[in-house]
Subunit: 196 residues, 2 copies
DNA sequence: CCTACCGATCGGTAGG
DNA sequence: CCTACCGATCGGTAGG
């Protein structure tokens, strides 16, 4: 495959995104200035603009890159034939895995997307709904097969994602639980509850 | 009680907080300017400062006022003697009630607190931990009495609050579910799970 | 990748 | 509650 160009970020560009993820997570998108970012990267603010078009450009990249990661993780399992409860556990594991692999980017994806301007903002919302529907379908399959209780699907999906999405805030690579175990415990609570 | 002064916000001050809650929720604290707020209130930006000391003053008021509301709601039930599962349901109902009564302020409380400066930031974190401990104690009582499964308490409490705290985002006063029913459905999922 | 700099806007103050 | 205004800082550009 000699001569084929691999679309890859330059080292500097990758570094800019990396620091931006960290800063946007830590201080928020609006509270992070291009001078903050420049300092973290080790260049002057004006120099950033030889690598990126604008501040929002960075936010767009982070948000839609993470969206791709989430969909890719579900793609691997979506056509598997198995019991809905087992499938939901796999979907949860896949989702949690993406978050733990990219905790800063996940935080930005989850909290800073509202600073996107149109039409990206609308694209983002539509994409998110499509993603949530992957989970809704597994759940409705489970209800149809009487594996799951007949709860309001939308309500349950919202509770589900609320529970999954704080993981970025909690997960520490060298902490008590690894990603696998976090996913298992979340699945257990969401499927079996706290009652003895 | 004639002559006794009731500590009460002036009409204008109450209006400023009201509009600030709405704007901070909608656009975020950093993205809301004092000129945005002034326009919403119907005065010039400089005039706001006869009623409030600074922008952060408003954020402090909203965050700590909400904290008071949450604690007050738990105060009513904390000494009741009853089964831990029933008590947890009451605590959930009280918490959800505060959120649905003050959806905008709740959103600010949940997402914008990190823009507080010290020492308020630290006070806020300590207060939040104290509040979470109210729930942790109910849960540990339930484990001791073998009403609840023996899960990691901190993990469970985090899942619990993640589930409860999106309610502000979802609740509509004229919507499908009233606050009572939202609390019941949340309790059911968290206590019994999705599995049939 | 830097120096130099831009117009716009920020939170807030002075003085009435 | 307003007019007038401040110093600081913002995202970003020109030109090399």
């Amino acid at each position: 495959m000699a001569g084929i160009k691999i679309k890859k970020l330059s080292k500097r560009k990758a570094q800019i995104y990396e620091e931006a993820q960290r800063l946007f997570r830590e201080k928020g998108y609006k509270a992070t200035t291009m001078r903050d970012l420049a300092r973290a990267v080790g260049v002057e603010a004006a120099s950033l603009y030889s690598h990126i078009k604008s501040k929002e450009d960075i936010l767009q990249y982070i948000c839609f890159k993470m969206a791709d990661e989430f969909f890719a993780a579900q793609e691997d399992i979506k056509d598997l034939k198995m019991r809905p409860d087992e499938k939901l556990k796999l979907a949860i594991k896949a989702h949690v895995g993406v978050i733990t692999d990219n905790a800063s980017a996940a935080a930005v994806f989850l909290h800073e997307w509202r600073h996107l301007s149109e039409p990206y903002l609308n694209d983002f919302k539509l994409m998110r709904r499509r993603y949530e529907n992957i989970f809704a379908e597994i759940i409705e399959d489970g209800m149809d097969q009487w594996v799951f209780r007949h709860l309001d699907t939308k309500f349950y999906v919202t509770v589900l994602f609320s529970s999954l999405n704080w993981v970025y805030d909690w997960y520490q690579p060298d902490g008590k639980f690894d990603p696998e175990e976090i996913a298992d415990r979340l699945s257990f609570i969401l499927l079996n509850g706290l009652n003895q």
